[in-house]
Symmetry: C2
Subunit: 225 residues, 2 copies
């Protein structure tokens, strides 16, 4: 059974309402209202990506990931399955969620708070760039998987398509700033730009960053080049 | 027995070395080297402040706090005693440290991550401004203390003396920015200025903020008005 479609993000609703209001008033909207897509900022809690072989090792021969909840990026989902992570000092994180679909290498993305709890020094990396990072053990109901590397802190990043990149005047690999307002106003100054034809405009920050700026559904956010 | 004096902060050493180098070179130093004091940024983990009466309730009649470690601000210390915090849902934080000396009201300062773990919504406040904040129970070896309010998230802030305030051209209650460099570069945009004749120049951020920007002893920091 397919998971239920997620409700629209508040940023999507506000984007549509704002455009409609300017149109009805017959006024020329400010530049940010003319952006091709709404700016969605989501906090990504710790999670892992697995290869098809790793899923079989952990969950049994022939096992595949079960989509439990769709993510904002098309085709991406939170799996119903989860694993237990054991760090090199024997410390444990239970119920580590798995994001699907499967990838070509195994990777664990933790916040710095998680890494401190495990007693692990992890590098800040772009996703998929795991060379030289520490490893860990993942345990599932059917077996365990020794990862020799692959535990990273994901650098804050923004997914966008070429229309968004043109609007913000940036290209893949550039660095932008994410300004977050509200009582804990914070600007993330090294937001990595990742451009892909199929991407929806979405910023990913981790739980440390989300809690530092107290990001809520109504917190004002702004992308700056 | 008095606690051992803390080693100098790396920022203090760098400040002295930088001034000496410019003097030896006979070159006129840039403005930041002319600042009256080094800029020290410290992460404050969750802690509480107690009244003398609360210390007696928790640790027994006649009990006082034992200084175990000096803090950067003169006369402030981490106590050897600690308490257990019980939140309204019965969830617990053990070994909550107590900062001394005693104050005129009881106050608990948590990061947002701590508050989420307790299931508590806490406001972002300047220290001592606790009206309307949630309460909790503190437990010590000799008794427990019911706080009806006083659990807050401390707003990031900078302590300074009037010379620092003149140099940065700010006054008590103003808002500054703290720019943190490095691979997780982050700017804290609502840094509250607290001016006091006896204060040493020091920024306090909490563990969420410190982990978001991955603050280390060699991370570059800059105060901007």
């Amino acid at each position: 059974m397919a998971p239920p479609p997620p409700p629209p993000h508040r940023a999507e609703v506000e984007y549509l309402v704002r455009r409609a209001l300017y149109q009805r008033m017959g006024k020329s909207p400010p530049r940010r209202v003319l952006a091709p897509n709404p700016l969605v900022v989501n906090v990504r809690a710790r999670h892992c990506h697995l290869t098809p072989a790793a899923v079989e090792t952990l969950f049994g021969k022939g096992a595949t990931l079960t989509p439990a909840q769709d993510l904002y990026q098309k085709g991406r989902f939170v799996a119903g399955e989860s694993v237990t992570l054991v760090g090199p000092l024997g410390r444990v994180i239970s119920n580590l969620r798995i994001l699907g679909p499967c990838r070509s290498q195994n990777q664990v993305e933790l916040a710095r708070t998680d890494a401190i709890a495990l007693g692990l020094e992890i590098p800040v990396r772009s996703s998929d760039s795991i060379a030289g990072s520490p490893g860990c053990t993942l345990m599932g109901p059917a077996g365990s998987l020794q990862m020799n590397e692959g535990v990273i802190r994901a650098a804050p990043h923004v997914h966008m398509n070429p229309d968004d990149a043109a609007f913000y005047n940036v290209k893949n690999g550039d660095i932008m700033h994410l300004r977050v307002g509200g009582p804990c106003a914070t600007t993330f100054d090294r937001l990595l730009v990742r451009v892909h034809a199929e991407s929806r405009l979405e910023v990913h920050i981790d739980t440390d960053e989300g809690n530092a700026c107290a990001l809520g559904p109504d917190t004002p956010v702004q992308l700056l080049s």
